[in-house]
């Protein structure tokens, strides 16, 4: 059992960190948590700027097979995710680069791969995900938006929701009902569509903090070329499951917490209360140490997932475990830090806000990772049913 990186990997890691450290210096102050890129114009511009720079270096296609311009090495992607997480750098479209590209490589036909992979690698097209509906959340296969085949086209009607960044995206990938009579899970098709197609209406949904990372997307007789599907017609559920396996690397989030811990230690060493630094308070020491222990555990498990993925072994249960653990650790982090900050823990980005106002934002934003990409309760079902082999009650 060996956690050591090769010299080549260490050199790559250093390069990733060097570039991200430089980019951090140009980061807009209101870019707090990667979801804010969808919210503010200057954050979105910064995201595109980083994406272009990464594209030039070939970093958006790192883990892809060499025939599509990648290195074929999963570990590169992991190390890159660490650097971005630590420095809080966007520039990787979680939907296009993170989810769709690996799905296309695994499930798309040659034509679809040739058309859609290069613009992802070049950061020319930003994607959004069109999955959930008002009445189909965790029970995604119960969705009702239809895509009816007519000649060389699908005609789409219905509504999607919780579509992160749909108002910024160029294209979207979604799952739609293409057979009105077939049974559940055998009636869905995975479709790629241009968000500028007539008949699409995008309405941002105000988040509790006033930001607008999510949207509703309405479809009114939207015509999509029939060739824009991944996998076979009515076999979209398998593609959905493939894509779900390519979750955003939890390492990005974990490394953002590694950085947050360092910032927190510095803050507590420098900030006085009751005539002494916060760091002298045994209660605070104990609570921060607890976070540090849990963070190290999360990181170790994330490496386990990376190691499995690196050998092309499925890491379904461990990926669910690290998703649950790291997102709930982020919650505990937020609650602990805002406690330590006292009255300052509630302050929005302003001259009163400590540590760049990150914690007020995180206090409200921590739901993004616990609810999205399969709620943590669904992840627990996955572990129970597929990992522990417990009976599934119908």
């Amino acid at each position: 059992m060996d956690f050591e990186l090769t010299d080549e990997q260490k050199a790559r890691r250093k390069e990733f960190f060097d570039i991200c450290r430089e980019l951090e210096k140009k980061k807009p102050p209101n870019l707090v948590g990667l979801e804010t890129i969808y919210d503010h114009d200057e954050c979105w511009e910064f995201h595109l700027h980083c994406a272009k720079q990464f594209a030039q270096k070939g970093w958006l296609s790192l883990a892809w097979p060499p025939e599509y311009g990648g290195t074929g090495n999963m570990m590169d992607r992991v190390l890159f995710a660490e650097a971005r997480g630590y420095h809080g750098i966007p520039g990787v479209d979680v939907f296009g680069v993170g989810m769709l590209a690996p799905t296309l490589i695994q499930a798309g036909n040659e034509e679809v791969k040739k058309e859609f992979l290069p613009p992802i690698a070049r950061a020319e097209i930003m994607w959004c995900e069109l999955w959930s509906e008002p009445n189909a959340g965790s029970d995604l296969a119960a969705l009702s938006t239809t895509a009816i085949r007519r000649g060389d086209e699908y005609i789409i009607n219905g509504q999607k929701t919780w579509n992160t960044g749909a108002h910024r995206a160029d294209w979207g990938f979604g799952v739609f009902k293409t057979d009105l009579t077939a049974r559940k899970h055998h009636n869905l098709t995975f479709i790629l569509l241009d968000m500028k197609t007539p008949g699409i209406t995008v309405k941002p949904i105000p988040y509790m903090d006033g930001g607008r990372p999510f949207c509703e997307v309405y479809f009114d007789d939207v015509r999509v070329p029939a060739k824009n599907i991944v996998g076979q017609e009515n076999e979209g559920w398998a593609v959905v499951n493939t894509l779900a396996g390519f979750e955003r690397s939890s390492l990005t989030e974990i490394m953002s917490l590694v950085r947050a811990l360092e910032d927190l230690v510095k803050f507590c060493n420098e900030t006085k209360r009751n005539g002494q630094p916060l760091s002298k308070d045994p209660v605070i020491r104990n609570r921060i140490a607890q976070l540090a222990c849990e963070l190290e555990a999360a990181r170790a498990l994330a490496y386990r997932v990376a190691d499995l993925q690196n050998r092309n072994e499925m890491a379904l249960m461990d990926a669910s475990a690290v998703k649950i653990f790291s997102s709930e650790l982020a919650e505990r982090f937020v609650f602990t830090v805002t406690d330590i900050l006292g009255p300052y823990g509630q302050v929005k980005l302003s001259r009163w806000a400590p540590m760049g106002g990150a914690w007020e934002k995180m206090y409200q934003g921590c739901f993004v990772t616990t609810i999205s990409m399969g709620t943590n309760e669904i992840q627990r079902n996955i572990i129970a049913w597929y990992g522990l082999g417990l009976p599934r009650m119908k």
Partner: protein, 377 residues
């Protein structure tokens, strides 16, 4: 990076699992709990034949020359099956001899340990019950070629059957509590030593050891006089990691037993494992076990590679202490009333989780070390 066990480790694991399953059934565990000795000399002999006591002792001292990481692989299996007795106390007491012992001491003790001829233990704690240097008050005073030890050590594992006791003493009241501590290898048959088993939750034979004018030859001093504290820090670090390995093995059994039972036990006309309330608890204990496991593997690797890892070892101990207690607690609860009985195996694990927590430093002790390690001033 390759987080799989090596082929040699897989062989060691399988051999240990098969051996312990056959040789150490839970009926024997309970029998040994009630016995005076607390271990089985026959079993000890067989373990010695497998080379376990000499696993990490270099070949030149008749050991097997395996790595620290290999040792944690074996200890995980020991924890998985619960092996009562002086194996861990002997192994962890070997660390100071290996690291700081002089050539004569190594030649004298290591081959005997490797052959399974010696049982060792380490006496750190005293009345205060703390692993900090302030807790060490037992005095060792120079007299001719001997040092004379006076004081009382507590919670010394298996001291009642140990041949030698590594004893932490105070030889000087230095400017800081860490300055002035010295370690000795004490023959337990020396006159003036008196032991008594303390009744504990795991019935694991932790002893009070009283030293009254016990003369120890100067040649049995480990390292330099007054400079023993770094050895204790090393011992706490390595011991903590070894204990974590034992705990991870134990929680694996807790999870496996609980999941298996929940598939068999029927209530409301269905196996209780079909209820989501229970499924999510099992998913949670499995998840926490996996985080504990890879944290252990990471720290064991650091230690084995000789990299500095005091902070990470404390993180692991603080974290895994709580995970083992929580996993075994939920295991008992999911078994229901039957899990609370003396004759049920799951209760064995629950009782041991508290002992595992205390050994080599409890959660808050290690969390303070973590706080220092991450730079809180």
């Amino acid at each position: 990076m390759d987080l799989r066990f090596t082929e040699a480790q897989e062989i060691l694991r399988k051999m240990a699992r098969d051996f312990l399953t056959t040789e150490c059934p839970k009926t024997l565990v309970r029998e040994l709990e009630q016995s005076e000795k607390g271990y089985s000399p026959e079993l000890w002999k067989k373990m010695a034949e497998l080379g376990w006591m000499g696993l990490i002792i270099p070949e030149e001292y008749e050991g097997m020359g395996y790595t620290f990481q290999d040792l944690t692989v074996l200890v995980e299996e020991i924890g998985r099956n619960i092996l009562p007795g002086p194996f861990l106390s002997t192994i962890t007491s070997t660390f100071p001899i290996l690291e700081i012992g002089n050539e004569e001491q190594k030649k004298e003790f290591l081959p005997q340990i490797a052959r399974g001829e010696l049982i060792l233990t380490t006496a750190l704690l005293e009345a205060e019950g703390t692993f900090t240097a302030t807790g060490i008050t037992t005095k060792a005073t120079a007299q001719d070629n001997n040092l004379i030890i006076n004081g009382t050590k507590l919670f010394v594992e298996m001291a009642h059957v140990a041949d030698y006791i590594i004893c932490a003493t105070r030889t000087k009241n230095g400017e800081s509590p860490e300055n002035g501590i010295t370690l000795f290898i004490v023959d337990s048959k020396t006159s003036g030593i008196d032991q008594e088993v303390i009744p504990t939750m795991a019935m694991d034979k932790q002893c009070e050891v009283r030293f009254e004018n016990v003369a120890v030859p100067r040649k049995n001093m480990l390292g330099n006089i007054d400079e023993g504290w770094p050895i204790i820090e090393m011992l706490l670090r390595k011991g903590a990691i070894v204990k974590c390995a034992e705990s991870v093995g134990a929680m694996q059994t807790c999870v496996e037993m609980t999941v298996a039972y929940s598939k068999e036990r029927v209530q409301y006309e269905r196996p209780i494992g079909a209820f989501q309330a229970l499924q999510h608890i099992m998913a949670d204990i499995w998840t926490s076990m996996e985080t504990a496991r890879y944290l252990l593997y990471y720290v064991a690797w650091l230690e084995s590679e000789g990299m500095p890892c005091a902070k990470q070892a404390s993180m692991a101990k603080a974290y895994i202490n709580e995970v083992y207690k929580n996993v075994s607690k939920w295991a008992v609860r999911l078994f229901g009333a039957i899990g609370t009985t003396y004759d049920h195996d799951i209760a064995l694990y629950y009782r041991r989780s508290k002992a595992a927590d205390i050994a080599f430093g409890g959660t808050d002790f290690h969390k303070e070390l973590v706080a220092q390690g991450i730079g809180l001033v």
